[in-house]
Symmetry: C2
Subunit: 332 residues, 2 copies
Amino acid sequence: MKLATLPEGGPDGRLILVSADGERWLPANGVAATLQAALEAWSRSEAALRRLGERLEAGRGEPLEGVVLASPLPRAWQWLDGSAFASHGALMQTAFKLPPIETTLPLMYQGMSHQFLGPSDDVPLPSEADGIDFEGEFGVITDAVPMGVSVREARDHIKLVVLINDWSLRVLAPVEMKTGFGWVQAKPACSMGPLAVTPDALGAAWRDCRVHLDLLVDWNGKRFGAANGGAMAFGFDELIAHAARTRTLPAGTIIGSGTVSNNNFREVGSSCIAERRGLEILDFGEAKTAFMRFGERVRMEARLPGGQSVFGAIDQAVVSAHSHSGIHPPGR
Amino acid sequence: MKLATLPEGGPDGRLILVSADGERWLPANGVAATLQAALEAWSRSEAALRRLGERLEAGRGEPLEGVVLASPLPRAWQWLDGSAFASHGALMQTAFKLPPIETTLPLMYQGMSHQFLGPSDDVPLPSEADGIDFEGEFGVITDAVPMGVSVREARDHIKLVVLINDWSLRVLAPVEMKTGFGWVQAKPACSMGPLAVTPDALGAAWRDCRVHLDLLVDWNGKRFGAANGGAMAFGFDELIAHAARTRTLPAGTIIGSGTVSNNNFREVGSSCIAERRGLEILDFGEAKTAFMRFGERVRMEARLPGGQSVFGAIDQAVVSAHSHSGIHPPGR
């Protein structure tokens, strides 16, 4: 089952159901007005949405082509992003001479969740000098999770799988990381792919609570990376149990995989510019690839073995927040 | 003006107005159903609430005594906690032999915000072995703040001032801090004092965007600390500008001061157990004061020069999450 959100009707948008082939849609307002509302009553709403889906598969609904979609969750009560790909951390540490992170637990930070940009929204940022980078990730959305949930139980709380671009500002990130407090300025609003899908929509590509698909990243129309999501050192079930050790997770909590990265990054490429720059430092002694400039675009998607773009595509440009309506220039 | 929230009518509770002397209340539902809704339209709702307040000051309303209150914001879209008291950081670093934090910027992390416990709620936590500690703080609540707001502009976005207990798990905190990703497990749900007050309700105690009042902390009925909130190295205006450097802040964003701490902590005491333990390590070579046990209580309040408890009191006990309804035992 595939769900999406129209950017209308309020800050949480309006929930729609999308056909398995991604071609048509029906409003879901008979079941739930918003995805957040559906997740808060998932044990009831899932069955009702699946019944509605039968009408879509029978040929009903409107064409999706040309419809502008919001993030499936335009805002969420909680966004906890992991960093579960060991090859990403290892490359960053070697290239940038960072001290090794000494932990056997999953790495995780809490990011801003009151705004997730839609898949084709412009991304307003204050300055190119901050080192604008994309980070392609997979993520899951949970229903309400009790404090102290086990890894085994956590699996059943994974209701939807999504594609995320965790925008990062690389000049600011190491400064904040050194404090030990995590990132605030280095992590502006993320973007989300248009379709939130139930794990069964991934078929055999969903196993061990991981997305075994290549995350296809194109930067200004050129393939930049195609790393596989199956290489997570911790599955999403383990990330959820880690997150819920001392807190409840509300329905609609989003858990991220961290930048998708594989050991053979020299062949498959990367899901963020920082990794390529790290590789250049190792190979040439200096980074040659610049971070993003205003006006540049990034596209992300993941295709099933049959070729279908399962989450739809993120395809968007970064723009200056100064020229973006309603946003003041930065300053102290 | 003083606002509070009854724990009824939905997850955001029901907004009430409390008289200046804290003795009586009136429902605010003619203006806004919830504090979140009031903050989202503050330019309109403030004036209407102040008009309602005139009726309270004329003697209308019900007695507040005995009324159980929720957190003024039972949940919020964003909670960004600073660490603005230099004496706290310096003591922690010296006592626990932590490397100095090299930054001239405010320290800040994003904490969980989907649940703020009420001032008399039990605090369910999974294990005494995690090192249960309170952290007394002041905080402010903003309306919507644009990205890149200046320090000067930030001041005008401070709409309410609150009292916060930022519960911390001290065994988990250094492990997470070392990763650079900030805290997830070490920072469970915070508690908030019952009254959210406009800055003018603090009179001369509100200046330089700081709360110049002693934060009175009693642990199991015994005075533990009375540190003054005026000693912040950065004012709340500076913390807001720091927070909004690369993101918008939604209405209802809560910004915390960090543990209130003064240079003369030997005289005034501390707002968290970790500071006292740090002092004991310096003086005796080892910490003597144990962290909290289940069943123990902490009380926090701040009194105006005339003696009035301006935010009301946080007064609550920590309990085992295992015996608390609806929360599973922790485990993997």
